[in-house]
C-alpha cells in the first residue's frame, strides 16, 4: 500500500486524520488482514504509514476493539467512541458526498493479482472533486463469500459503495487518482494484495494473547 499524503493534504482529503500518519515513511506499507466470522484482525508488517508493531482486532459482536502491542506485550481494549449527534449528522452528509459511478468496465485490462485473474473496473466521482478509482476485482467463486467483508475492510466504504464494488468481485488491487490523469498520472493511493490464503481460522487469533498485560496497568495507570 502506498499513499501520497502530501497530495491528499493539498486536496483537503481525510482532514486531520492525515496528521496521524507517519509522513516520513516513503516506502510501501504492508498490513496483514485475517477475516473471520464478524471479526477482523489487522496487524502491521514492519513499519508503515500507520505505525509499526501493533495488532488491531475488531469484533462486530462486541463494542469497541482491541489494540495489541507485541513489543510491549500489552493490550488496550477500547470502546468505539460514540459520535456526538452533530458529528453524526455531518458524517452522514459527508458519507453521501462522494457518489461513485461505474464509468467503464475495461475488459481488455485483466491482470493477475496473487495468482488470480482480475478484471479492472473504473469508478468515478465528481464530488467533492474529480476522482478515478480503478479496482482490479476477482470474480472467482471461492472468494465470493468474503468479497463484501474484504471490500469493507479495504475501503471502509459505506455499504452502497461496497455493494457497488463487490458486484464485480473481490478487490485485490486498487489505485485512486485525483483530477486530470494527464496532469497527475501517478495514483495518489494504491494497494495490492500480495498473498491470499484461504484457511480455517481459530478464535485464539481474535483474542488478546495470553501473558499480555493491560497497557493501562503497564503504563502505570489504573485500568
Amino acid at each position: 500500500m502506498r499513499l501520497d499524503i502530501g497530495r491528499a493534504r493539498a486536496l483537503g482529503l481525510a482532514g486531520p486524520r492525515l496528521a496521524m500518519l507517519d509522513q516520513a515513511h516513503a516506502a510501501d506499507t504492508s498490513v496483514a488482514v485475517v477475516h473471520g466470522d464478524g471479526r477482523v484482525r489487522l496487524s502491521s508488517i514492519g513499519s508503515g504509514v500507520f505505525g509499526s508493531d501493533y495488532v488491531h482486532i475488531r469484533d462486530e459482536t462486541q463494542e469497541g476493539f482491541l489494540y495489541v502491542c507485541p513489543s510491549l506485550r500489552a493490550f488496550l481494549q477500547l470502546p468505539s467512541p460514540p459520535l456526538p449527534e452533530a458529528v453524526t449528522a455531518t458524517a452522514a452528509v459527508r458519507a453521501r458526498a462522494a457518489e461513485f459511478t461505474v464509468q467503464a468496465v475495461d475488459a481488455s485490462d485483466q491482470e493477475r493479482v496473487a495468482g488470480r485473474v482480475c478484471q479492472a473496473v473504473t469508478l468515478t466521482a465528481a464530488v467533492p472533486f474529480a476522482v478515478r478509482w480503478r479496482l482490479w476485482l476477482c470474480g472467482d467463486v471461492d472468494l465470493r463469500p468474503f468479497a463484501q467483508a474484504a471490500a469493507a475492510v479495504l475501503t471502509d466504504a459505506p455499504p452502497p459503495v461496497a455493494d457497488l464494488v463487490t458486484g464485480f468481485g473481490m478487490p485485490l488491487r486498487g489505485a485512486l487518482s485525483f483530477g486530470d490523469p494527464a496532469a497527475f498520472p501517478e495514483p495518489a493511493s494504491a494497494f495490492q494484495l500480495d498473498e491470499l490464503v484461504l484457511r480455517v481460522v481459530t478464535d485464539a487469533e481474535f483474542n488478546g494473547p495470553d501473558g499480555y498485560t493491560d497497557l493501562r496497568a503497564a503504563s502505570g495507570q489504573s485500568p
Binding site: 481525510a14 475488531r58 513489543s71 467512541p81 462522494a98 479495504l154 495518489a188 493501562r216
Partner: protein, 714 residues
C-alpha cells in the same frame, strides 16, 4: 618615608605639576579582598550542608533556606543552631521597653536587614519591598514624614523588629522565584488532541552538599559565584482530551476511505489519539539535570557615574522531559509532540530563573546601598567619577576622582585612572609585613587571641578629606549657637568674660546671644610622622574661629558686641558608621555620610598667635586683648561644644588597642575591625572581621553557642 610600589606596576612619572609621593586630587579607592569571599563561601556551604531540598509548585519556587535552618534548629532542640547565628526573630508579645529581649535582633542577617531598611527609609522608599501588616506600613509611611536622620528612630523598637524580621525572612532568607506553571491548552495533530499542563512542580535537591563551588575574584572587575546544584527535577501534570477535529476525523467520507484503504479501518474506530487518551497519562517527568548557576558581579556605573555591584546571572541546565508511562511505539509521535512542547518551555526555565535571581540580587545591592563612591554629601557626588578594575584571584578595586570641570587646574588627560598608583599603594599597605602596620592577623579578646580577616578597604586621599571638611563648613555644619546653660553656654561665656575683665557687667545672660563658627574652612592634615610613632594620624585645624557675644537679635540692633578671634587644633579621626548610644556603631547608617570625621576633644590646642578681640558699644569697650589669656578655658570648652556631635571618644576600642585600630562590637568576642594607616598623603581604612566567629564549624554550632557568640538575648 617612601612606600614600596607594587612590583607589577611601574613607578609613576612625575606629572607636570610635580606630584609624586602624594595624590593630587580628591580621590577615593575601594578594594574588596578575596578573604571576604572565601569566608562567605565557607558560611554558605556550611549552611547548604544542612539543607536537603527546595520545592516549587503552583508557579513559585521557594528557596526557603532560612526556614529550613529554623526548622532544623527546632527539630534538633537547638543542637543544630546555625539559624540562631543568622536570625534572632522577635517574639510575641513584643515590648517596646528599650533592650527588651522580645525585640530580638542582633544576629548576622538582622544587622544586614536593619542596615538595608535604614537606607530604604533614607532614600524615601514608599515601602520596604516586603510584605508587611497594614499597621507597619502605616508606621513606615509616617516615618517618611520625618527628617531623613529621624526616620528609623521614629519607629518604635517593636516596629523596627517587625520590619527587620519581614526583611530577613522574605528577602534574605526566602528567595521566591516565580514561573508560569501552566502550558496550554494547545492542540496538536491538526487539532485532533488537546492538551495542557496544569501545574509544573520542582524539587531542587541540595542533598546536604556544599553547593557554592566558586566565590572568587576571577578577573578584571568580576566577582564570580558558581553554584552547582546536585539535581533539579519535577513533574508536569498533564491533561489530555479530544481536540476540535477529533470527531470530524472519525466521520470521514467515502473518498477519504478509498484513499486510506485499510488505514481507514485502522483509524476509523480508534485513531491513535483515542489510544493516547485512553492511556490517561497523568504527568511528564521534567529533569533539569544538575544546574550550574554563575553569578558574575561587576561594578558598573549608573547614569550619574556611581558604581553599583551589578550581577549578571546565568543558569545552565540540561533540561529533558520524558513520559514515564509505557507508551506504545505508535503513540511515540504524539508523546514526542507533547514532550517537545513542554521541553521548549523548560528550556526557557533556566533563563527565567536567572533573570529573577539577577533582579533580586541587584535589588538587594541597591537596598544595602553598596555603591561607590560612598554616599557622602550630595555635593561630593557631583565631583566623583568612577572606574573599576581588578586583578584575577586577588582583589577587586575601584577608584573615584574629581570631576575635571571642578578642578580647572587639572586637565582631564592628567586625571588618575582606575589603574592609578593609589590603588597599588593601597595594595602595598595591605601586603606590607611591617611599618606601617599590616592588618592584624589576630585580635585579643579577654587575653585570648582570636583570628582576624581583612575583607575590604578604602584609600582616601587627604584632598578628599579636606574637600569633605570644606563641604561641611560650607553647609554650616560647625556653626555653634551657644546654649543657655552648661559649661559651653552663653552664661558660662559671659561669666568668663566678666571674670577676665574686672568691672565689666554684661547683664542678664538670658538677654545675650553667642555663636562660635569657623570663618575660614577648617583643614584636615594626615600626620604620617606622628602615626608612625604611634600617635595621632590626623590633625584638624580651625585656623580662624570667630566667637561673638551680643545683645542684638533679629530686628533689634546690638548695643554691645564682643567678637573674639582665635584658632584651635586637635587630633582628628575617621570612622565608618553612625553614633548610637554614645558609641559609633559601624552597622548603623549615618544619614549624611558613610564615614565621618571625629574630633579628639580631650586635647584641644589653642593658637595664641592668632587670638584677638574687637568690641562695639561703650558697655564692652573694656574688653581688650589683655583678657585673652584668661579666656583660654572657655574657648576650649566652646570648641568642645562646637564639635560635641562628633567625638572621637565614641570610637570603640578595647584596652591596649592603638589609635589606628577601631573595634566595633558585633556581639560577644566578635568585632568589625577597622585599621587606619596614613602614607603619602592618603588614609587607608582596612575593614575586616575579628573574633570567635572565624574558624568556627557552624555545622556543630548549637543555638545556645550561637547566641553566646553574638551575646544575643532570648
Amino acid at each position: 618615608m617612601s612606600l614600596p610600589i607594587s612590583p607589577n606596576q611601574p613607578e609613576e612619572a612625575p606629572g607636570p605639576l610635580g606630584y609624586l609621593i602624594t595624590t593630587p586630587y580628591a580621590l577615593m579607592s575601594f578594594e574588596l579582598e578575596e578573604q571576604f569571599l572565601d569566608d562567605v563561601k565557607d558560611l554558605s556551604n556550611q549552611a547548604s550542608s544542612l539543607l536537603t531540598s527546595f520545592s516549587g509548585d503552583h508557579g513559585t519556587l521557594n528557596i526557603n533556606w532560612l526556614d529550613q535552618l529554623q526548622a532544623l534548629n527546632q527539630s534538633s532542640n537547638g543542637s543544630i543552631g546555625l539559624f540562631c547565628l543568622l536570625h534572632n526573630p522577635s517574639t510575641s508579645p513584643c515590648s517596646d521597653t528599650p533592650g527588651d529581649p522580645s525585640q530580638g535582633g542582633g544576629a548576622l542577617l538582622d544587622t544586614v536587614a536593619v542596615n538595608a531598611l535604614q537606607k530604604l527609609l533614607l532614600a524615601g522608599a514608599v515601602n520596604p519591598g516586603v510584605s508587611i501588616s497594614a499597621a507597619l506600613q502605616q508606621a513606615w509611611t509616617q516615618a517618611l514624614q520625618e527628617p531623613s536622620a529621624q526616620r528609623w528612630p521614629a519607629l518604635t523598637p517593636c516596629q523596627q523588629a517587625g520590619l527587620r524580621d519581614a526583611y530577613v525572612e522574605q528577602k534574605l532568607g526566602n528567595i521566591a522565584i516565580s514561573y508560569p506553571s501552566t502550558i496550554g491548552p494547545n492542540t496538536i495533530l491538526d487539532g485532533l488532541l488537546e492538551w495542557q499542563v496544569t501545574d509544573i512542580s520542582f524539587e531542587v535537591d541540595i542533598n546536604r552538599t556544599q553547593v557554592v563551588t566558586t566565590l572568587a575574584i576571577t578577573g578584571p572587575n568580576d566577582v564570580q559565584c558558581v553554584i552547582d546544584l546536585p539535581k533539579v527535577s519535577g513533574k508536569a501534570w498533564l491533561e489530555t482530551y479530544p481536540g476540535p477535529t477529533y470527531w470530524i476525523a472519525l466521520a470521514v467520507d467515502a473518498v477519504s476511505c478509498a484513499f486510506l484503504g485499510i488505514g481507514c479501518a485502522l483509524l476509523a474506530e480508534a485513531i491513535l489519539v483515542g489510544l493516547f487518551l485512553a492511556l490517561n497519562i497523568a504527568y511528564l517527568s521534567v529533569d533539569l539535570g544538575s544546574p550550574h548557576v554563575v553569578i558574575d558581579t561587576s561594578l558598573q556605573p549608573d547614569q550619574n557615574q556611581v558604581l553599583w555591584p551589578t550581577p549578571a546571572v546565568s543558569v545552565t541546565a540540561n533540561t529533558s522531559v520524558l513520559i514515564v508511562n509505557v507508551v506504545p511505539p505508535n503513540l511515540a509521535t504524539i508523546a514526542g509532540l507533547i514532550v517537545s512542547a513542554v521541553a521548549s518551555w523548560t528550556n526557557l526555565l533556566p533563563n527565567l530563573i536567572a533573570t529573577q535571581l539577577q533582579s533580586q540580587l541587584a535589588g538587594l545591592f541597591h537596598d544595602l546601598g553598596l555603591r561607590f563612591p560612598l554616599a557622602e554629601s550630595p555635593v561630593m557626588d557631583q565631583f566623583a567619577g568612577s572606574e573599576a578594575s581588578g586583578a584575577s584571584n586577588s582583589y577587586l578595586d575601584a577608584i573615584s576622582q574629581e570631576d575635571p570641570a571642578y578642578s580647572q587646574l587639572n586637565p582631564s588627560e592628567e586625571m588618575i585612572t582606575a589603574e592609578d598608583q593609589l590603588t597599588y599603594r593601597f595594595r602595598s599597605l595591605v601586603t606590607a609585613p611591617s611599618s606601617p602596620p599590616a592588618f592584624p592577623q589576630q585580635v585579643s579578646a579577654d587575653g585570648v587571641d582570636e583570628p582576624c580577616h581583612l575583607y575590604a578597604g578604602f584609600g582616601i586621599s587627604q584632598n578628599y578629606l579636606n574637600l569633605l571638611i570644606n563641604q561641611l563648613w560650607q553647609t554650616g555644619y560647625f556653626r555653634f549657637r551657644l546654649p543657655a546653660t552648661g559649661s559651653d553656654s552663653v552664661a558660662a561665656l559671659a561669666a568668663a568674660v566678666e571674670s577676665a575683665v574686672p568691672g565689666l557687667h554684661l547683664g542678664d545672660p538670658a538677654l545675650l546671644h553667642a555663636q562660635l563658627s569657623p570663618d575660614t574652612s577648617p583643614r584636615l592634615l594626615l600626620t604620617e610622622h606622628d602615626a608612625l610613632a604611634g600617635r595621632n594620624y590626623a590633625a584638624v585645624h580651625f585656623d580662624d574661629l570667630r566667637l561673638w557675644l551680643t545683645d542684638g537679635v533679629r530686628g533689634k540692633p546690638a548695643s554691645r558686641l564682643i567678637e573674639f578671634r582665635f584658632g584651635a587644633q586637635m587630633a582628628g579621626q575617621i570612622a565608618f558608621g553612625a553614633p548610637s548610644s554614645g558609641q559609633i556603631d559601624i552597622t548603623k547608617v549615618n544619614p549624611n555620610r558613610t564615614f565621618d570625621i571625629y574630633y579628639d576633644l580631650t586635647a584641644i590646642t589653642l593658637d595664641p598667635a592668632v587670638q584677638s578681640v574687637a568690641t562695639y558699644g561703650p558697655a564692652v569697650a573694656s574688653v581688650t586683648d589683655a583678657a585673652l589669656p584668661a579666656l583660654q578655658s572657655i574657648f576650649t570648652a566652646l570648641v568642645r561644644g562646637m564639635l560635641a556631635g562628633n567625638q572621637a571618644a565614641w570610637i570603640p576600642r578595647q584596652p591596649g588597642d592603638p589609635i589606628t585600630i577601631q573595634r566595633f562590637p558585633l556581639g560577644g568576642d566578635n568585632w568589625i575591625i577597622c585599621q587606619l594607616n596614613v602614607a603619602r598623603g592618603n588614609l587607608y581604612a582596612q575593614l575586616g572581621l575579628g573574633g570567635t566567629l572565624l574558624g568556627f564549624d557552624f555545622q556543630d554550632l548549637s543555638c545556645a553557642a550561637a547566641k553566646f557568640l553574638l551575646a544575643l538575648s532570648g
